[in-house]
């Protein structure tokens, strides 16, 4: 049952029927999804509490619930607990199916899941006890814990590479490029972030600029894009618009993305050339972003009405849009004249939710809704998906819009030389709206739990097959 690119371009990634034949794969996919969902709930409950504290700074101000300890718990848990575990779960499914083979080792997949969870649990406890590695964003966990995460990555990439090596076809489907690339690059990222020899003073600032952005764009982005390349054609039951465009986006992303990290340190004492390279590469990123985005949207061409009936497609569609617009926003933000206003304001927090939530999280949801029912043979309820979709979409829109407006006002207050406290007072209504958005987002996650339950252990719902009728059949 070899699947080649030639086949794929005719029929989409894999045959539609007979997907429940692989029980081991199905239980792994289920376990990763359930575990990720736990971290989603935990991480965003903490996030909601943080949003509340902006209005009520004296609420739960004890040592273990103080703002500064909970904030890194929120960011690390949604990164390394939710998004990483969810995307690795879908990656296993995508790789195995697109290679038309069996997983190389179930034991390794389980070991990886344990390691990811041990890291996230230990990291959470360490941060709450105050063992924070210097507030270096997204690498606050003490280094031994980050090595556990690295071990999880190594186990995963080993398993996935060995699975790909087993395939019978000649070519390697594009999704796997992104998945393996993301895993390999992230091993390097984790290593560079842990090695101590150059991490002093400004040297460490350089690494922070590199790390915080590469951990996002060379890890979550490729995994989510790899998932798009599989799930979108799968759901639409038609091939990807252009394979070549996908290849171009892959290499350009690899060249431009790694260098743009220092744009978080514009106007810092880092060397000017480093800051300038970062700006240029931020502009260069338009190539893979627009190329990739166009590819997905053109694949969906003519089938937009389908978004309404197919919620998996709706999630993927929002994910693609946020990928394109969130990345373009990032490019614009990197320009020096605008950085002078937006840097250090809440605008940046809006941007990271635009991308990490609107793009990465929606991609993971779309992937799970599209593929998990195929693996388990159980579908969620249509209403459940609809409520999840609309709560999450409205919530994140309110969140991002309020912080973008608020952040701009905050930045202008500073430029106009107002007393600092003015910017704090001016932000109050926007912090409040952010909280409203956050509540909707959190409620949508509770609905997601219910949907996951129905796709795994519970009574299946009434949603139609995630795979839409092909045009020939529909016409």
């Amino acid at each position: 049952m070899a699947v080649t690119v030639q086949d794929l371009s005719r029929t989409g990634p894999t045959p539609i029927r007979g997907e429940q034949d692989d029980h081991e794969l199905s239980s792994i996919f289920k376990a990763y999804t359930v575990s990720a969902t736990f971290w989603l709930i935990f991480g965003t409950a903490v996030g909601l509490l943080l949003a509340f504290k902006f209005g009520a700074p004296d609420f739960w101000a004890g040592k273990y619930l103080t703002f500064g300890r909970l904030r890194p718990i929120h960011t690390n848990d949604v990164f390394y607990g939710w998004a990483s575990i969810a995307l690795v779960g879908t990656a296993y499914y995508v790789t195995v199916r697109s290679c038309g083979t069996k997983l190389y080792s179930t034991a390794l997949a389980w070991a990886g899941l344990w390691l990811f969870n041990i890291a996230a649990i230990a990291g959470t406890i360490a941060l709450d006890l105050g063992y924070n590695w210097g507030d270096l964003e997204y690498r606050e966990w003490p280094w031994p814990i980050r090595l556990v995460f690295l071990a999880a990555l190594i186990v995963t990439v080993w398993n996935i590479l060995a699975t790909i090596a087993r395939r019978e076809s000649q070519d390697i489907y594009l999704s796997n490029w992104y998945i393996v690339g993301g895993l390999l690059w992230t091993c390097i990222i984790c290593l560079v972030a842990v090695l101590p020899w150059y991490q002093y003073g400004l040297g460490q600032v350089t690494i922070s600029g590199y790390f915080m952005h590469n951990a996002v764009g060379m890890w979550f982005t490729p995994l989510a894009l790899g998932l798009f390349y599989y799930a979108i054609p799968k759901v639409l039951n038609r091939p990807i618009y252009s394979y070549a465009l996908g290849v171009l986006a892959f290499w350009t992303n690899l060249v431009f993305y790694p260098m743009l990290g220092a744009h978080h340190f514009l106007f810092s004492p880092l060397p000017w050339w480093l800051q300038t390279t970062a700006i240029i590469c931020s502009v260069g990123m338009l190539v893979p972003v627009l190329g990739g985005g166009a590819n997905y949207l053109l694949t969906m061409r003519g089938r937009y009405h389908g978004r309404i009936e197919s919620y998996p497609l709706a999630f993927l569609f929002v994910g693609v849009l946020c990928y394109v617009f969130g990345s373009m926003q990032g490019t614009v933000e990197a320009l020096r004249s605008l950085q002078a206003i937006w840097h250090f304001t809440s605008f940046t927090v809006g941007h990271s939710h635009f991308t990490m939530y609107g793009f990465v999280t929606f991609a993971a949801w779309g992937g799970i809704y599209a593929l998990l029912p195929l693996a388990t043979g159980k579908r969620p309820g249509q209403l459940g998906m609809a409520v999840h979709f609309w709560l999450a979409t409205t919530g994140v829109a309110i969140y991002v819009i309020s912080l973008s407006i608020g952040g701009t006002i905050q930045g202008l207050d500073w430029v106009h030389g107002k007393p600092f406290i003015q910017s704090v007072v001016d932000m109050e209504p926007y912090y409040l709206w952010r909280g409203v958005g956050g509540i909707l987002m959190f409620l949508s996650h509770l609905v997601f739990v219910w949907n996951v339950w129905r796709m795994t252990a519970g009574k299946p719902g009434d949603a139609p097959s995630p795979i839409m009728q092909s045009e020939e059949a529909g016409a």
Partner: protein, 327 residues
């Protein structure tokens, strides 16, 4: 079929490693060796302990420890220079300013204020949304000998009449906060401060317009241009910041009748040259994209005629020529 696999995965991994060495590890190795600036000293053990508290309680998520060379950052001190961070490991430059920058807070606030503020920020700063850090204090009936209670307005003091004394954690943290002073550099007047901003000392009368090809030097524009774009680093009094940003007062390039060096630097930026026997650690950014020829001529002429400098004025045409010559 194995070949393609190695080409894609091996190739992309290798390419990535090369990029990372070039843009992250290499520069990091180099920058980690940046020597401390003048007056930048290692922390005492107590201050170091306070720095740990600062990190573990996450103060850095709301406060930055870096001042940018932008007019709006002037209230926080002079722009940070590379040498300022020699002992700052782990780095805590920060990425968000929900609260103010703290680079120079030791020069702004006293110890007692810090204790009151940590115990309850709203006691001293109405409207603040900073969390209280009451867990860093004990509430006691009687203050032990040799310890000073934190003075608090009645509305913010414990209701039962208890006195508030700091724990070791609070003492260390405040020691660290008090150590946050941009080193006083001789000959450099701090013009920041949360209060008023010292008004830039206006230079002696600028010479009258020297007409050249229809261009007349506009002294007012020159001064405003300089104060908003250049003074953050070179200082309004033209004296710069020793070892970080060179003085323009009495500067050879500015005093030279041949304006090439001066204009070229403004247009295209510069770093690491030896000026008057000193190598400066700061960066001179390029302004070609930001200022037009006339702006630059006005600013250059302002420099050429201020702080006791007397040099031949320049014209926008000269700027245009050097801009075209490019770099």
């Amino acid at each position: 079929m194995k070949k393609e696999m190695w080409a894609i995965f091996g190739g992309s991994l290798l390419l990535y490693v090369v990029i990372v060495l070039l843009i992250a590890v290499g520069p990091a190795i180099d920058l980690a060796r940046t020597p401390p600036g003048p007056g930048v000293k290692p922390l005492t053990p107590l201050e170091e302990e306070g720095r740990q508290v600062f990190a573990s309680d996450g103060c850095d998520y709301c406060h930055t420890l870096q001042v940018r060379p932008l007019p709006e950052d002037k209230v926080f001190g002079r722009p940070s220079a590379p040498g300022d961070f020699a002992y700052a490991t782990p780095e805590m430059l920060g990425s968000e300013r929900t609260g103010p920058d703290l680079t120079d807070v030791g020069n702004r606030r006293g110890e007692v204020w810090q204790y009151m503020h940590l115990y309850d920020p709203r006691a001293v700063s109405p409207g603040s949304i900073m969390p209280n850090f009451k867990f860093m204090f004990h509430e006691v009936k009687a203050v032990p000998a040799g310890v000073a209670a934190v003075p608090l307005p009645p509305a913010f003091a414990p209701k039962n009449g208890d006195k508030v004394i700091p724990t070791q954690r609070a003492e260390a943290l405040v020691a660290f906060l008090m150590s946050l002073k941009q080193p006083a550099i001789p000959g450099y007047a701090m013009n920041g401060g949360m209060g008023g901003q010292a008004v830039a000392s206006a230079p002696a009368a600028a010479p009258a317009a020297s007409a050249a090809g229809g261009y007349a030097y506009d002294a007012a524009k020159g001064k405003t241009g300089f104060d908003t774009t250049c003074a953050a680093c070179h200082q309004a009094n033209g004296e710069g910041v020793p070892t970080a940003f060179p003085p323009l007062k009495g500067n050879a390039a500015v005093g030279d009748d041949d304006p090439t060096t001066q204009l070229d630097t403004i247009l295209h930026g510069r770093q690491g040259t030896v000026i008057g026997g000193v190598k400066y650690s700061g960066v001179m950014p390029p302004f070609a994209g930001q200022l037009n020829d006339e702006d630059i001529a006005n600013i250059a002429n302002y420099e050429r005629s201020s702080w006791g400098n007397h040099a031949k004025p320049v014209t926008p045409a000269e700027v245009a020529k050097l801009r075209a010559a490019g770099k």
